[in-house]
């Protein structure tokens, strides 16, 4: 989306040499990554590894959205942050520092705000891929609807306790989040990491896989795949299962043939619970 399709600089060739060797990436793929813009919403357990690997692999522009500050209870899973940031740094500022240590070639834009219906489309507009690395159902519906309205593919990950889930929504005839979950779940089933806990490496695994899905989307590889959901569980063997998903649902309220949701709505009211009901 940055428009430039210049050749790679010597600095880029030096840094990405090990990726340029892979035919599936090559100069063309590396340039696509550089000329792409990805928005990572949530710089917590999922967003930490996802943003680090997107920057390290050469995504040119990375947007970060979070309204929270870094807390000691984050550090067992949010590896982009530091103890020093626990003195009150906004997560997006702390994450930006982490990315800057790793790569000066990545252009980072930070949004230290709570994503809501009033700002979501403005913030998300113009990105090639949006990564949902948030922690509550209301924000997940908000991001989904905004992605559908803006026509942006959505890489959605989640992790609770010992389990994780990963899906790409709103892409190539596949479903959106609402196609799969037209009605929000009951409020008392929406426990997040702060109430039920999470093993630190579980969002680590899912966040890395979100970075991988983003690369597949940006390089075109994802076009060859059918819609699927990856289920991960630390507790069961095998740890990973891939579930075939439905296509886009013609009757979907937002991505269907006759959508009833044509603007963002009040997602906290829709879900009966919002982002503030989860502690960090």
């Amino acid at each position: 989306s940055q428009g430039s399709s210049n050749v790679l600089s010597n600095e880029e060739i030096r840094r990405y040499s090990r990726q340029l060797l892979i035919p599936e990436v090559g100069t063309k793929g590396q340039r696509r990554l550089r000329d792409s813009a990805v928005l990572v919403i949530g710089t917590g357990g999922l967003g930490s590894p996802c943003a680090l690997y997107l920057a390290s692999m050469g995504v040119g522009t990375l947007g970060l959205v979070d309204h929270d500050t870094v807390d000691h209870s984050n550090l067992h899973r949010q590896i982009i942050h530091t103890e020093a940031s626990c003195a009150g740094a906004p997560k997006v500022v702390s994450a930006h520092m982490g990315l800057s240590r790793l790569s000066s070639l990545c252009n980072v834009r930070i949004h230290n705000v709570l994503l809501d219906s009033s700002n979501a489309k403005d913030i998300m507009n113009g990105y090639d891929v949006v990564v949902d690395a948030t922690d509550n159902a209301a924000t997940r519906y908000l991001i989904n609807d905004a992605c559908v309205l803006l026509g942006i593919p959505l890489v959605s990950g989640s992790a609770v306790r010992l389990d994780g889930q990963l899906t790409v929504y709103n892409y190539n005839g596949g479903p959106c989040y609402r196609c799969l979950f037209p009605t929000p779940p009951p409020v008392d089933t929406m426990a997040g990491c702060s109430e039920t806990g999470v093993l630190g490496v579980v969002p680590g695994i899912i966040g890395c896989l979100q970075a991988m899905e983003t690369v597949k989307l940006l390089t075109g590889r994802k076009m060859d795949e059918h819609p699927s959901m990856l289920l991960f569980s630390y507790a069961s063997q095998p740890h990973f299962r891939s579930i075939k998903l439905r296509s886009r649902s013609a009757g979907c309220a937002v991505c269907g043939d006759s959508p009833t949701v044509t603007e963002l709505v009040d997602y906290v009211a829709f879900c009966g619970s919002g982002p503030h009901d989860n502690a960090p």
């Binding site: 949530g42 917590g44 357990g45 999922l46 967003g47 690395a133 948030t134 922690d135 509550n136 159902a137 997940r140 990950g157 989640s158 992790a159 609770v160 306790r161 389990d163 994780g164 889930q165 799969l180 979950f181 037209p182 009605t183 929000p184 779940p185 009951p186 008392d188 089933t189 929406m190 426990a191 997040g192 990491c193 039920t196 999470v198 969002p203 959901m229 289920l231 569980s233 507790a235 069961s236 063997q237 299962r241 891939s242 579930i243 075939k244 998903l245 439905r246 296509s247 989860n278």
Partner: protein
């Protein structure tokens, strides 16, 4: 549970994931390599018609859920936020049913109910 097996039976594996296993009577669950599963012998016919997944869902709601059945079903339907997976496929694509609840159970079916996760 009074089940009528006069028309034959189906062997089903029913799995509960994403935290749903906590809703189920633990003595009815088996730990199969870490997955929480119930092995259920189910009638081939219910009230003269081939047994459907709707019949199974009623049976689970009435005899397997510990308490809080509203966290498994809302009325006749699986509560919002639960994915139903038949033999590793989203149940919507298993058959060209207008109504996914009409799916006719097959012997050896593996049916998973997985709660969607929101945390990160």
């Amino acid at each position: 549970p009074k089940l009528d097996f006069s028309a034959g039976s189906l062997d089903l594996v029913v799995e509960f994931g994403g935290g749903l296993d906590a809703l189920i009577k633990q003595e009815l669950l088996k730990n199969v390599n870490g997955a929480k599963q119930a092995q259920i012998k189910f009638p081939k016919q219910i009230d003269q018609h081939p047994a459907t997944i709707q019949d199974l869902i009623f049976h689970l709601r009435d005899f397997y859920v510990k308490d809080k059945p509203e966290l498994f079903c809302v009325g006749d339907k699986v509560r919002p936020g639960i994915l139903v997976i038949i033999n590793e496929m989203d149940w919507e694509i298993v058959e060209d049913n207008a109504d996914e609840y009409a799916y006719k159970l097959q012997d050896k079916d593996h049916i998973a109910f997985i709660s969607t996760l929101h945390g990160g």
